[in-house]
Amino acid sequence: MMSSLYRIIVIGRNTLTESLRQKVLSVLLIFSLVLVCCSVYFSGIATPGLDAAGLFDEQIKFVKDFGCGAIGLFGFAIALLSTAQLIPQELQTRTIYTILAKPVRRSEFLLGKFFGIVLLLALCVALMSLAFVGTLYWQEWQGIALVQNVYGYGTPSWHADSISVGQYNHEIDLIDTQVRDPQLIEAVLLIFAKLVMTSGIALLISTFSTSTIFTIVTTFMIYLIGHLESTAREVWLGRGAETSIWQSGLLGFISLLIPDMNSFTIVDEILSGNHVPWSHALNLLAYANVYLIILLALSIVIFDYREL
């Protein structure tokens, strides 16, 4: 058991090293960091004519949306590209035969490879999140400076008007609440879970596909359909329009097999400042984990029986 785990860790570490050496992924990571940091420039396009509080609300929303959007988008690209070429590349370079000739099970090889990709995603998401936090603090600093300017903080007239001081404190508190929102950890965890799920789907497809392009396109399609799965499920369960037997069959197929990616869009609610309880986020994370176990089990079954 321990030796098996050791082999998985070694393969995972090697996969991570190999992935980090790939120029495409490095470029993607750099672009993502640039985009996350650039979200402050998008915030500059906020609606003119708003008061300090309104302006900050709009700016911080743009920074959060574009920051998390960049993490999700580039994370998706990294997950897809790195996982899709895992097995085809091993087959092309024939290194898989050398590895499997040693006392390494196919399942260990597959799990090790996937573990490496999860590590890569964790590293990328951590780096992008750090850039995101930095951007948020920069925006907070800008927001406080704006409010101080509006209320004449530090000028001789300061403290003369108790109402203004009260409003100033209220607006500073609002800025702090929006920037130092612990729920952002929930948002990043949910984005990460979605990326790992995407990676799991790509791994499953790559176990029977013979080309990287096929894996990328199919995974992308499943990802898109996943955002409509909840609608398909509702219709299939008879809560929508009348359907023919063929339509019902197709909707049932989608509902039973494709993961519900739309549930993860609650990240938008978190970014809008709405309260999402941890119990709900943990439920979604558990769903993602169980789905991942199923994807890995299917991948192992298919890969075990594949003619190499």
């Binding site: 959007g69 108790s162 039973l256």
Partner: protein
């Protein structure tokens, strides 16, 4: 011909292997599928309960978004798409004073992110203030009555945005206060200036109601506590104003009165004035002579 070349003994093993693989896949999926459906239903019900109105992709929404942005929404980039429309399309429509187009974009953004207060808040303001004022000052329209009517049309559109915002986010004090502000400034004040006293009376009373509702929500700024009474004063309803000031005064603890000295003085002077004006008997007064 091909089949004759295949060794039947060799074919037997891959078939057994294939069948075993198919059986294992079917077993895993068969066990997982019902659990998946039930679990997803539970997550969906939980999200409904928490009022997360995830957008449903309809034909109408798809036509409004266009192909590129639809793919964005389907990729889970709903908030980024909404922000993009807000920053680019809506701002251009505003600058070019294409108010109907702007109204459409406000509806689109609020449909994509119904729980984002900022879209309702600023969207309603754009329509009830910017579009309405532009319509009132539109000198390409020579008829003043028609200008007034057009201006009122946009105020109603703005009001509609706020009311839909409240329906989607009843816990947001901001939207309740915004609606009160709209009733006060865009309906009450305008009607009062036009000599429509009954309409102004109704609008100020509604404003008082919405300010009062805002106060019941957490996070509402404390200075709003005086607004309902101000609205009754503006409406000329002295009795209601007196009652509102009195209720507010009685709700404040001595410490609060000390803390909010400026506000407390205002409340006290308003009560004294109204007691005099309404000739309240001395024994029933809050501040007897």
């Amino acid at each position: 011909m091909t089949r004759l070349l295949v060794n039947p003994a060799a074919e037997c093993l891959p078939l057994a292997r294939r069948l075993r693989r198919a059986f294992l896949i079917a077993l895993i999926l068969g066990l997982w599928a019902p659990v998946k459906i039930l679990w997803e239903q539970e997550i969906g019900a939980e999200q409904d309960l928490l009022r997360y109105h995830g957008v449903t992709m309809s034909r109408e929404l798809r036509d409004q978004l266009g192909q590129d942005l639809t793919i964005g929404v389907l990729s889970g980039m709903r908030s980024v798409v909404a922000d993009y429309i807000w920053m680019v399309d809506l701002t251009i429509a505003w600058q070019q004073q294409e108010w109907f187009k702007m109204g459409g974009y406000v509806n689109l953004c609020t449909s994509l992110q119904p729980r984002s207060i900022i879209f309702w808040d600023i969207g309603g303001w754009q329509l009830a203030w910017n579009a309405s004022v532009a319509a009132a000052r539109d000198h390409t329209e020579p008829d003043p009555l028609r200008r007034y009517k057009n201006s009122q049309f946009w105020i109603q559109k703005g009001l509609d945005v706020y009311l839909r915002g409240i329906a989607n986010n009843p816990e947001s004090w901001k939207l309740w206060a915004d609606t009160g502000f709209l009733y006060e400034q865009r309906l009450g004040d305008i009607e009062k200036r036009n000599g429509q006293h009954q309409a102004a009376w109704d609008a100020y009373h509604k404003a008082a109601y919405y300010y009062g509702e805002a106060l019941k929500r957490p996070g509402c700024m404390t200075f709003y506590e005086r607004w309902p009474a101000y609205m009754y004063e503006k409406a000329g309803d002295d009795q209601a104003a007196y009652q509102a000031w009195k209720d507010l005064w009685l709700s404040l603890t001595p410490e609060e009165k000390k803390q909010k000295q400026h506000a407390a003085e205002k409340i006290e002077s308003s009560i004294r004035d109204l007691e005099k004006k309404l000739s309240i008997p001395n024994e029933k007064r809050v501040f007897p002579n």
